[in-house]
């Protein structure tokens, strides 16, 4: 009974939060609702007994949305309503709905067609966390490694894109050196 109550409660909360995220015209509401929705999703993992994934969902997405907040802070006055430029509302809504339904069908059809079966039986005596490790390093090894490589590529390109003057660290410089640097900058501007 508790499971059913928890499921419907969190289902309602999650959908409500994401609804606010897409409909509100205020950046702060949207971001907060997004963070809350991400955290509410973890409840489903906990209900299903996948504790590890639930905790990871909280850790990863709370950090990811925090980065979004940082961008929101840079680009908007988050306490004011935003005037959005809406083109053809019907077209946008229709296309978005069709795309969403299509994605669900594309991913769900093969699963339904195959009559969901657990390909990897539970290992006796292994906990939730170990179970994930076993599956990741046997069945899903290639996608796992590919994701790692992709993240490495993203990190390297991020450093290259943002990394001008990487050898310069204001933290390590003394005050005199910083003053000299500023003076040189001014000279360049003047000349």
């Amino acid at each position: 009974m508790f499971e059913a109550i928890a499921f419907y409660l969190f289902a309602f909360l999650t959908i409500a939060m994401f609804y606010i995220t897409v409909t509100t015209s205020q950046a702060l509401y949207a971001l907060t609702a997004l963070a809350a929705g991400m955290i509410f999703i973890s409840a489903f993992f906990f209900i299903l007994g996948a504790d590890f994934l639930g905790a990871v969902q909280i850790v990863v997405y709370s950090g990811a949305v925090m980065a979004l907040y940082a961008f929101g802070m840079m680009f908007f006055d988050t306490t004011r309503e935003l005037k959005e430029k809406n083109g053809n509302k019907l077209l946008v809504t229709g296309l978005a709905t069709v795309a969403a339904v299509l994605i669900v069908v594309i991913f769900a059809a093969p699963i339904v067609g195959d009559n969901i079966t657990a390909l990897y039986p539970m290992t006796e005596g292994a906990g939730n966390t170990q179970e994930i490790g076993i599956v990741l390093f046997t069945k899903y090894l290639v996608p796992f490694e590919l994701a790692a490589v992709m993240l490495l590529v993203a990190m390297v390109s991020g450093i290259v894109l943002a990394g001008k003057k990487m050898d310069l660290s204001l933290t390590l410089m003394s005050d005199a050196e910083i003053r000299d640097m500023k003076k040189e900058k001014k000279k360049k501007v003047l000349s």
Binding site: Q26, L28, Y29, T32, A35, I39, D51, F52, A55, V56, I58, V59, S62, G63, M66, A67, Y69, A70, M73, T78, T79, G127, N128, T129, S169, L170, T171
Partner: protein, 328 residues
């Protein structure tokens, strides 16, 4: 069975809530007193003997003060932000074993609310979510100092979390479990079994990150004291502001429980002496938070990021590598 379990859990939740919100209040008294002694002052002296009732006076003031919502703030988020800080601090406590299990009137009590098998991950995640309180409060306040403080909060969050996660990974590899009770069992052999002897680097790293996690002094840059205003709390008044404080102090107490449980043997073999030992270690770590506040200045946000990403993270990764090689 079901009903008994339900009643037991509810009682435990109420006890933890009451004890730690009380302790959070008294914690402010400890802090003021210890800071005062370190600076050769007397601290609170007027209310009650040695100022012991100062905490009560503060509580009365906070509860009865007018709750002001300024006209330009984003009201719903402004209102909910302090609740996030306080609530997540207590949510994290659900997976902490505060004492060894004991028998009372023939009924065995486990002083942990939920022994989930991913305890430490859950605790760290919840404490991380707690930083949303200052962030949202600062962003919703429509105040430039508060907004700056929120920006610093985001900077702290994205830099310390990687250090906590990586530093804790090496001990987890040794124990082979994420539950704090398993950590305690692993070290129950006594003084020489403590993880701190085999993982001193992880211990120091986690301890440093704990200061960032709770936002205590070397990394107290979220509410920057030198700006005279109170950072994210500038626009808050009354109990809303008090909830931020309850959250911060409760967090300090909980992390002071977690560090000994992870590295210093926890409650040991579960005897009465072991329980006292855990409380003693907790008291030391709480005292250390106050000690650093008296002894150290704050770092700048860029220094914190430099420290976390360029110094602590490589050390943590090296520590994991070496642990893995040794364990193989």
């Amino acid at each position: 069975m079901e009903v008994a379990y339900l009643i037991e859990t509810v009682i435990k939740i109420v006890v933890v809530l009451l004890v730690f919100s009380m302790l959070a209040g008294i914690g402010t008294y400890f802090e003021r007193k210890i800071l005062a002694f370190m600076q050769r002052r007397l601290g609170p002296m007027n209310v009650g003997p040695y100022g012991l009732l100062q905490f009560g006076a503060d509580a009365i003031k906070l509860f009865t003060k007018e709750d002001i919502i300024p006209s330009n703030v984003v009201a719903p988020i402004f209102k909910i932000a302090p609740v996030i800080t306080a609530a997540t601090a207590f949510l994290a406590a659900a997976a902490i074993p505060f004492l060894p299990s004991f028998t009372i009137f023939g009924y065995e009590v486990h002083p942990i609310i939920a022994d989930i098998n991913i305890g430490i991950l859950y605790i760290l995640g919840m404490m991380g979510v707690g930083l949303y309180g200052p962030l949202l409060g600062g962003m919703a306040s429509a105040n430039k100092f508060a907004l700056l403080s929120a920006a610093r909060g985001a900077a702290v969050f994205i830099s310390y979390e990687v250090v906590t996660g990586l530093s804790i990974l090496a001990p987890i590899m040794m124990v082979g479990s994420l539950s704090l009770i398993d950590f305690n069992e692993y070290q129950s052999g006594g003084f020489t079994d403590w993880i701190v002897w085999s993982q001193p680097v992880a211990f120091i790293l986690f301890w440093i990150a704990a200061f960032a996690e709770t936002g205590r002094t070397p990394f107290h840059l979220i509410a920057n004291d030198h700006e005279i205003v109170d950072g994210f709390g500038t626009e808050y008044s009354g109990m809303r502001w008090g909830l931020f404080f309850i959250g911060e102090y409760a967090n300090m107490f909980f992390i002071s429980f977690v560090i000994p449980l992870l590295f210093l043997g926890g409650y040991g073999d579960g005897s009465f002496l072991g329980a006292l030992g855990l409380l003693g270690k907790m008291a030391f770590f709480f005292f250390f938070f106050l000690w650093t506040r008296a002894a150290w200045p704050d770092v700048r946000p860029d220094q914190l990021m430099w420290l976390c990403w360029k110094v602590l993270m490589p050390i943590a990764v090296l520590n994991i590598l070496i642990t893995a090689i040794v364990l193989m």
